[in-house]
């Protein structure tokens, strides 16, 4: 399709992704100088519809960006009123006394929010300032100028059939050029991945990047059991001690609870199914009693970026900035990345303004970042995640000492050993895991879960999950790892089927079910899967998540 004529639009700044990072950058820029023209692209059908997050929210960055957010009726209403941290075994739960918890795990003064709703609100706020937001348009390719600098993005073609030929309603993507491009696609952005490689942004990183997969369900529960503002975290069962992960349960408005689970993607056993661990977790007596007579109204999953400071790439490059979880600004021990994503966006707004008005080099981003509170916060948190390589109990003891006694100021930095796709052990050396059958009351199969996410992709379009080697599953991954994609994909996109003629097994890709979590792009042991943007507007339609 290289020969088609593409329209071109020119802006001062092009931003990819309307999450907390991209929206904050847009808002900050417009606040400083309303004449700067900004185009913000979002692949979801509307702003917020691809945002899935816990979320216990620290308002620090929002206070800086929009100090009167309370008067403006921002959807940040439910203060955390009480919190418990539990260690679970199969039958019982043990409460960790609050005074033993490091500060980073305490949430006094934070709010329980739907980040999806907050993004929607920020989107309206940004539009009122004159930011041009285009939901339903994915940035599918980067544009470079003759000097090799990033010069903008190309939006995806709409109306191609499965073989890439134009249909009746074909609408070619257009080139959107900006003096500065901001990549804020969230965890494992596909353009972010490209620039990290192209500009070697991770050349000075001490550790490979680390990821997790996070699930979230919204349940409407019995008002009797609902306790507005209460939050609960747990570690332990059903995960083995060598797997990094834990649960969250937040009592939000309207008798809803936000129930979720996060598992490090550095897990070793290819038979492990993050989805099933989460489903099983809900059958713990402590959780089951909360859910009894309740109703599940929402489901979704999304990868998180967990490497922290050791894995944070350089965030500027010629013509562009890489911010928020697209770079990796999440604070892992807190599992909080919204406030840091926002702050990285605020700094981006300030830096871009200086670049446009005073010709400052974009590289000042790194210093501004270092001088801000995000850096201090990430520095303090840096040793927690890598300590979990030693297993749950030693890590908790170490974290207690590191965070509680030394306040994260120990004079050394632990490193992450492997990239997540390197961590799987061969299937023949791994223990098979028998997960219990779904009961349809507390636990559900993948199709009925995906159904709740409203996921849809226009039919008859090119597959957006590209395999570098089409036959790798058949020739290698099936034998070596029992094709773990069957289990790590939270939407059942990858299935092993048998060809009725040749009796050979092959990998079937149900790409229309994809909920854009990016796990396959991260965890595939040979890095054989490339996630690219499908036709704009496709994917889940999350609300309230």
């Amino acid at each position: 399709m290289s020969d088609i004529q593409r329209e071109e639009m020119l802006y001062d700044v092009v931003i990819v992704g309307a999450g907390p990072a991209g929206l904050s950058a847009a808002i900050k820029l417009k606040q400083i100088n309303s004449d700067i023209s900004i185009c913000l692209l979002e692949k979801a059908a509307e702003v917020g519809a691809h945002i899935l997050s816990g979320n216990v929210f620290e308002t620090k960055a929002l206070d800086e960006l929009i100090p009167n957010w309370k008067d403006l009726n921002a959807p940040v209403k439910t203060k955390v009123t009480s919190e418990d941290f539990l260690y679970l075994n199969k039958e019982k739960s043990f409460k960790v006394p609050n005074f033993l918890l490091p500060k980073s795990l305490q949430n006094h003064g934070n709010y329980i929010i739907s980040l999806s709703n907050l993004c929607k609100w920020l989107g309206e706020f940004a539009e009122n300032l004159g930011v041009e937001i285009f939901p339903g348009f994915a940035a599918s390719k980067l544009l470079y100028n003759e000097k090799g600098e990033v010069s903008g993005v190309q939006t995806g073609d709409m109306g191609l059939d499965i073989n890439g030929n134009p249909k009746d309603n074909f609408e070619p993507g257009i080139n959107i050029k900006g003096k500065v491009t901001v990549l804020s696609e969230g965890c494992r952005g596909h353009l972010g991945k490209e620039v990290i490689k192209k500009f070697n942004l991770d050349a000075n990183n001490k550790s490979p990047q680390q990821y997790g997969i996070g699930f979230k369900e919204i349940w409407e529960i019995d008002p009797e059991k609902h306790n507005l503002g209460k939050i609960l975290h747990s570690v332990g069962w059903p995960l083995e001690n060598d797997t990094y992960g834990g649960s969250f349960c937040y009592h939000a408005e309207n008798n809803q609870i936000y129930l979720g689970y996060v598992i490090g993607l550095d897990y070793k056993n290819p038979y492990l199914s993050p989805y099933d661990e989460f489903q099983q977790f809900k059958t713990h007596p402590e959780i089951k009693k909360l859910l009894t007579n309740g109703k599940r109204i929402s489901y979704g999953a999304r990868a998180l970026i967990e490497g922290g400071l050791q894995s944070l790439p350089q965030m500027h490059m010629p013509g562009a900035l890489l911010i928020g979880c697209d770079a990796g600004t999440l604070n892992m021990p807190k599992i909080k990345g919204s406030h840091t994503a926002m702050k990285s966006g605020i700094i981006a707004g300030e830096v871009i303004n200086k670049h446009l008005s005073q010709n400052e080099h974009l590289s000042i981003y790194e210093d501004e970042f270092k001088n801000s509170w995000i850096y201090d916060e990430l520095h303090q948190a840096r040793n927690v995640k890598p300590s979990f390589q030693w297993g749950l109990i030693p890590a908790m003891v170490f974290t207690g000492i590191d965070q509680k006694i030394f306040g994260g100021k120990l004079p050394f930095t632990l490193q992450h050993k492997h990239a997540d796709h390197d961590s799987l052990v061969s299937a023949k050396d791994s223990k098979k895991i028998d997960y219990p059958k779904y009961d349809g009351e507390f636990t559900f199969d993948k199709p009925s879960s995906v159904y709740l996410s409203g996921t849809n992709h226009a039919e008859n379009q090119p597959c957006h999950l590209l395999l570098k080697d089409k036959d790798l599953t058949t020739n290698y991954t099936l034998e070596e790892y029992d094709e773990p994609a069957q289990r790590y994909c939270p939407a059942g996109v990858y299935e092993i089927e048998t060809d009725s003629e040749t009796q050979k097994k092959f990998l079937k890709i149900n790409s229309q079910n994809c909920i854009h979590c990016k796990t396959c792009d991260i965890k595939e042991p040979s890095q054989n899967i490339d996630w690219i943007t499908p036709e704009g507007g496709g994917g889940p339609i999350y609300s309230g998540t």
């Binding site: 329209e7 509307e46 041009e132 285009f134 257009i174 008798n255 159904y451 409203g454």
Partner: protein, 249 residues
């Protein structure tokens, strides 16, 4: 020729509908809303008529609150020339919608009125029909093909037996089936241009019509959950179960 298209803002067809906890209706807060799908076919057809030089002006009308402006912006981005929001605090029944549209039609004098065959939220499938009666214009519903020659309309409808061919004259009210055409995507430059196209706002109270509901919604419930199926061993068992347990034969 002037073409008027009626559009409705409804919960997006991909969203999993949820009944409000108090059973007063369906949850719409923070839910994605879109143009009613068959209305997109009506928009597409109007834009095509303009492109073919058959229509000189196209106009989209919706009735709703301020947020309903977004479906008008979509219509404009797809190629409609101008639009009117009739501002109404409440959602209206088909009769009230048809009355409202007839008032706008009185003012605007279109030759052709296109609507979707039905709205996917309440599935009433009444507005076009009532409107044609109020205007005393010919109607054709669920059209899957349209040709215009001079004053004459040649229409097709897909019915159980095959394709029904109809002929009528302008002015007319037509409701559009999904088969009629493939709605185009609004391109990014056209979305930009749509921001500058006219969008007039009229308050429904100024039209002097009775929009009070004639129907009272008692409560809204979810359909009962489907019970798990069972496996039967043979036809005999199946027949027995159908006869004595399910009591359907």
């Amino acid at each position: 020729m002037k073409v008027l298209v009626a559009v409705k803002r409804v919960v997006d067809y991909k969203v999993q509908i949820r009944v409000k906890a108090d059973q007063s209706g369906v949850e719409t807060e923070n839910v994605k809303m879109s143009v009613n799908p068959p209305d997109e076919n009506a928009i597409e057809e109007a834009v095509k008529l303009k492109e073919q030089g058959l229509a000189q002006e196209t106009l989209a009308v919706t009735i709703g609150d301020d947020k309903a402006q977004d479906v008008l912006r979509t219509s404009l981005a797809m190629g409609i020339d101008r639009s009117i929001l009739v501002k109404s605090p409440n959602s209206l029944e088909p009769l009230a919608v048809a009355k409202t549209l007839s008032k706008i039609i009185e003012k605007e004098n279109p030759d052709l009125v296109l609507l979707g065959k039905q709205a996917i939220d309440d599935d009433s499938n009444q507005t076009g029909q009532i409107l044609s009666a109020l205007l005393n214009w010919p109607q054709a519903c669920f059209i899957s093909d349209l040709k215009i020659e001079g004053n004459k309309l040649f229409l097709s409808r897909e019915i159980d037996e095959g394709i029904e061919k109809l002929e009528t004259n302008l002015p007319a009210v037509l409701t559009c089936d999904l088969r009629l055409n493939t709605p185009r995507f609004a391109s990014l430059p056209n979305i930009m241009k749509a921001k500058k196209k006219p969008l007039d706002i009229i308050d429904i109270s100024t039209l002097g019509i009775d929009t009070n509901p004639k129907i009272k919604v008692l409560k809204v419930e979810e359909p009962p959950k489907r019970k798990a199926g069972i496996m039967v061993n043979d036809v005999k068992e199946l027949v027995e179960k159908l006869k004595y347990e399910a009591k359907v034969i």
